[in-house]
């Protein structure tokens, strides 16, 4: 199996439609032991949804804005496993004012929240997990991205946060390279998850499949989850600081094909 005996932390499972849920399921099917994290009001939901996975994983409380939570996470994983083979960062948030066409009027406070939760948290999680990843011989960190090389309708400050995440990932790859840790992002095509449903005007992405040579199913998280699991495995060595587009190929195409 792809992830036989691997110990993997998966953040961001909220509903069965979450990319992280499918990632956790496939990781378990491929032999990994998984622990989830949940946050705030969503924690109770994550705990319930965890019960639907093939093996019911523990759910740890993690607010990535809280240094205490991150410290507790390190301690918990250390006493539980002693090392860590993989980390999946599937965390993002922007206040409503930062999305859906308010780009020019968003306050710094709201932008700061978006950057703290969606960008800085990748580095913070990296710092918290680095010693445990090192003990596993390096391990792999994977974050979820939405192509930030261009401006999109309605995505606004979340797009800026994702552009910063892409840079953050490269710096994290730089600093964790010496200990053998790979750090990569998966730039997913649009998927109708809770995160997407919270964005007013998300339906402007509904015709993604017209630009994608391979087509695109907005409700199927499996292709993205499979690539995340591949990056967690030993079969993607010598890749770090990379962004893999799992979007049906739309990123490579300049106009509508169908």
């Amino acid at each position: 199996m792809l992830l036989d005996g691997k110990r993997v932390l998966v953040t961001g499972v909220l509903t069965e439609a979450s990319i992280a849920y499918t990632t956790a399921r496939i990781a378990q099917e491929q032999g990994a032991e998984v622990v989830l994290t949940g946050f705030g009001r969503g924690l109770k939901i994550t705990e319930r949804v965890a019960g639907k996975l093939p093996t019911v994983p523990d759910v740890l409380e993690l607010d990535v804005q809280s240094p205490e939570h991150l410290e507790r996470l390190t301690g918990d994983l250390d006493s539980r496993w002693g090392h860590l083979d993989g980390v999946v960062h599937a965390i993002g948030f922007a206040p409503q004012s930062a999305l859906g066409g308010n780009f020019l009027t968003t306050s710094w406070e709201d932008v700061a929240t978006a950057l703290h939760v969606s960008t800085y948290s990748f580095a913070a999680l990296g710092r918290a997990c680095a010693p445990l990843l090192e003990k596993a011989g390096g391990g792999s960190m994977v974050g979820l991205d939405f192509d930030a090389s261009v401006a999109w309708p309605v995505y606004d400050w979340m797009g800026v946060a994702k552009a910063a995440l892409e840079s953050c990932s490269r710096y994290l790859a730089r600093d964790l390279g010496d200990q053998g840790t790979r750090v990569n992002l998966v730039a997913a095509g649009p998927l109708k998850t809770m995160a997407a449903k919270s964005i007013e005007g998300f339906d402007s992405f509904d015709d993604w499949g017209r630009r994608a040579p391979l087509g695109w199913d907005l409700t199927d998280t499996e292709p993205v989850a499979r690539v995340v699991c591949s990056l967690l495995s030993d079969w993607m060595p010598a890749i770090t600081g990379e962004i893999i587009h799992v979007d049906g190929g739309a990123h490579a195409i300049g106009g509508e094909l169908r």
Binding site: R41, G42, K44, I45, R48, V49, M194, K197
Partner: protein, 78 residues
């Protein structure tokens, strides 16, 4: 209306809704429940009533009357 009563109990006990705010024509919005609450409600209803509401269906839930109807169609008995 046994399913209705069960839904009512669920809303009062797990979601902190005031009992006198609940009526068949009340919507989840009237009860100040947002999309995250709806997802949680669907999971709780599955545990309590043994029927499964998908995320898509949860998103469409409007009045309690309609919700009970959907649950009953799916075979919920309280």
């Amino acid at each position: 209306m046994a399913v209705y009563d069960k839904v009512k109990t669920l809303l009062v006990e797990k979601f902190g809704v005031e009992e006198d705010e609940i009526s068949p024509t009340a919507t989840f919005e009237d009860l100040d429940l947002d999309s995250l609450d709806l997802v949680e409600f669907a999971l709780a209803a599955e545990e309590e009533l043994g029927v499964r509401i998908s995320d898509e269906e949860a998103e469409q839930l409007d009045t309690l009357e309609d919700t009970v109807k959907l649950l009953e169609q799916k075979g919920a008995t309280a």
